[in-house]
């Protein structure tokens, strides 16, 4: 690159169209995969919008994920940045500390292990559909279907009683809202931590065959660390998939030909899930990494201490990687998208999320062949104010 360095920009937070990343991101990607970004605390760091550069940063051990080093790319993150992560919250640890946790858990989340859960997930899905059918239209797909399925599944896996779901779902959504105050966030973390610490103590006394009991029995982690892992898994395990299920359904309802194709041919479920993941990129405001030393990225030098925000949604729409990237095409080969991240922090629960979605979308369409929005599409309120993108409510009829 020989041009003068572009002026730092600020991260765009509003979308022109609900299912496409902000237009500026695409324009900037055309100019180059990385550019200076002005952070909310006045720091000048970087923004990555190109696919190859995003992969390179996420796979590079010279970038750290630690919160203490991170500069917040938008004002709402100023608050969150001040909260110190608790022990066991390994998403925000670098190797080798991160490796200690990840190694202990990956055996529980293998492709094969997740396949064993298929019949249970199918049963949970059918139960929710029965309930929707019994209550009759209209229904809010978020509350009736998209949120309970992944919540029930992660509860079973962890050994958390689902009856407590109102409590942990409320705390999770406070954590993930960009509008929460520091007091609200701290209270929500404390609430989840106290609740799960109590559960960990109960599992020590009366172990079951769930993941938390397994971690207790392994003797490799302190009780505090196990609690932190449980908080991370519980929060990461239900809100993400829930938003994919509801936003994905909204997207398919807006693409009736592809929806019909999926209903006719369930073997399209796998490619549909990957394409919806790519196209929608629900983790829409990060990840953020900070350079531990000077690093060259796509011809620019990221200096030690500079933060880099990776716009996964823009990278997933990079025409250098995906042909006609702005077109939803459930038949395309979308694997390789970055919606589960990349590098050592790539989503631990991705195979679980895939199986949940591969079961849930086709089951929903099969049960309700006449599924439709119960309000005009432009009245569906989008989750622009949340760390995970999606819809707040999805009124449907059939």
């Amino acid at each position: 690159m020989t041009q003068a360095m572009p002026q730092p920009v600020t991260l765009p937070m509003t979308r022109e169209r609900p299912l496409d990343p902000p237009e500026d991101l695409g324009r900037w990607r055309e100019e180059g995969p990385i550019r200076p970004l002005l952070y909310a605390d006045g720091h000048v760091g970087w923004l990555v919008t190109g696919y190859a550069a995003a992969r390179a940063v996420l796979a590079d051990p010279r970038f750290s994920t630690r919160v203490e080093l991170m500069h917040p790319p938008f004002p709402q993150r100023l608050r969150q940045a001040q909260i110190k992560p608790r022990p066991g919250f390994f998403l925000r640890e670098d190797p080798p500390e991160h490796t200690r946790f990840r190694r202990l858990l990956t055996g529980q989340f293998t492709v094969r292990r997740m396949k064993l859960l298929e019949p249970r997930i199918a049963k949970i899905t059918e139960d929710r559909l029965d309930e929707m059918e019994r209550l009759g239209p209209p229904a809010d797909l978020v509350q009736a279907f998209a949120l309970p399925i992944p919540s029930l599944v992660i509860c079973e896996l962890l050994g958390v009683p689902y009856d407590d779901h109102e409590r942990f779902q409320r705390d999770s959504s406070i954590l993930l809202s960009l509008e929460s105050s520091i007091e609200e966030i701290t209270a929500a973390i404390d609430g989840l931590t106290d609740y799960l610490a109590e559960l960990v103590r109960r599992k020590r006394a009366e172990p079951g065959d769930d993941l938390i009991s397994g971690l207790v029995a392994s003797g490799e982690l302190t009780e505090e660390e196990i609690t932190g892992v449980a908080v991370l898994l519980l929060v990461a395990g239900h809100e993400t998939t829930a938003n994919m299920l509801s936003l994905g359904t909204f997207t398919l309802l807006n693409a009736p030909a592809q929806l019909a194709a999926l209903r006719e041919d369930p073997s399209l479920a796998e490619s549909t899930v990957e394409e919806l993941m790519r196209y929608l990129t629900v983790i829409h405001l990060g990840p953020i990494r900070t350079a531990l030393e000077d690093v060259e990225v796509a011809g620019e030098t990221v200096r030690k201490g500079q933060s880099v925000t990776i716009a996964l949604g823009a990278a997933n729409r990079d025409p250098g990687r995906f042909e006609s990237p702005d077109t939803l095409d459930i038949r395309r080969q979308a694997m390789g998208h970055l919606s589960f991240g990349h590098g050592v922090h790539q989503c631990l629960g991705q195979q679980l999320a895939r199986i949940e979605m591969r079961i849930a979308y086709p089951a929903l369409l099969r049960r309700f062949p006449g599924l439709r929005l119960a309000v005009p599409a432009d009245q569906v309120e989008m989750r622009s104010n949340m760390a995970i993108y999606g819809v707040h409510r999805l009124p449907v009829a059939w």
């Binding site: 796979a59 858990l105 990956t106 989340f109 293998t110 094969r112 694997m335």
Partner: protein, 69 residues
């Protein structure tokens, strides 16, 4: 083609087992990669190359892949 898997780098994300299940599995203990077939035939070459490409940790590499790869 000869597959090289570095279990020290592997983070057990399972992309390999998902992409080329005939060739890759994951260990029951720590979820790291287990190569079922280190010298897969040409009919599996495309899937194996895809698996190497999507592996997030760079744990997989190929030797003797045709230059067209």
């Amino acid at each position: 083609m000869l597959i090289n898997a570095d279990t020290g780098r592997c983070i057990g994300a399972g992309m390999c087992a998902l992409t080329a299940p005939e060739v890759f599995d994951q260990s029951e203990d720590d979820g790291t990669v287990v190569v079922l077939d280190a010298e897969p035939g040409p009919e599996r070459a495309a899937a194996v190359r895809r698996a190497v490409q999507v592996c997030p940790s760079g744990a997989l590499s190929l030797a003797g892949a045709p230059a067209t790869g």
